[in-house]
């Protein structure tokens, strides 16, 4: 019954995505996006795609998050929506 483990992870992903898009503080949004990517990496590993999971964890959660933090630290932290 591994499929509903996957299903619940998908549910968490949707929640994380919505939070990342609705939070007003940029740093919080970026952090949520990293959580999102990490959940996605877990899901990928669960589905047997270890190579993709490794890359997603390093690139999606790591590098993209750091790049976004780097950019947000240069610009305004608050966001209109």
């Amino acid at each position: 019954m591994i499929w509903w483990l996957e299903l619940s992870l998908f549910g968490l992903l949707v929640v994380a995505a919505l939070i990342a898009l609705s939070v007003r503080d940029m740093i919080a949004a970026v952090a949520t996006l990293s959580v999102y990517s990490f959940l996605a990496a877990t899901l990928l590993a669960l589905m047997g795609a270890v190579d993709v999971a490794l890359t997603e964890a390093a690139l999606g959660a790591g590098v993209t998050g750091v790049l976004l933090v780097g950019a947000v630290s240069v610009v305004d932290r608050r966001t209109p929506d």
Binding site: F10, L13, A49, G60, A71, P80
Partner: protein
């Protein structure tokens, strides 16, 4: 009913994620939020491809016996081709995000804001 859900839910879930990401890209005023939406959108497609690579009773696509000359049965492994495609897609996604962020920083230096509406107002002046 439950079988139907078990067989189809990856497609439904990725459809929802896709739309959430798309909403971020076209419905948000803040350029940073647009980039975040882009990121979600792309990972939804990645999950779509990978969930299509699953195979009942299969395991990681690594042939442990290859140097010992053991013969491997393709049915023992999940389909590796989508994995390869998605490795490519992830890197493409990061490249686009990087370029988008550099645009964003450059725009901020020029306009002093990242709100699309404010920028349009300022340009009309």
């Amino acid at each position: 009913m439950i079988d139907e859900v078990a067989a189809r839910f990856p497609y439904w879930a990725t459809a929802v994620l896709l739309v959430v990401g798309l909403y971020g890209m076209i419905g948000k005023r803040s350029l940073v939020k647009q980039v975040i939406g882009l990121s979600i959108f792309q990972s939804a497609i990645i999950l779509f491809f990978i969930s299509g690579s699953l195979l009942e009773g299969a395991t990681l696509p690594i042939l442990y016996g290859v140097h010992g000359g053991e013969h491997a049965d393709p049915d023992d492994f999940v389909n590796p081709l989508p994995h390869v495609l998605m490795l490519t897609a992830i890197v493409v996604g990061v490249a686009i995000t990087g370029v988008a962020l550099s645009f964003l920083v450059s725009i901020y230096r020029e306009f002093g804001t990242l709100d699309e509406r404010e920028m349009l107002d300022e340009m009309r002046k």
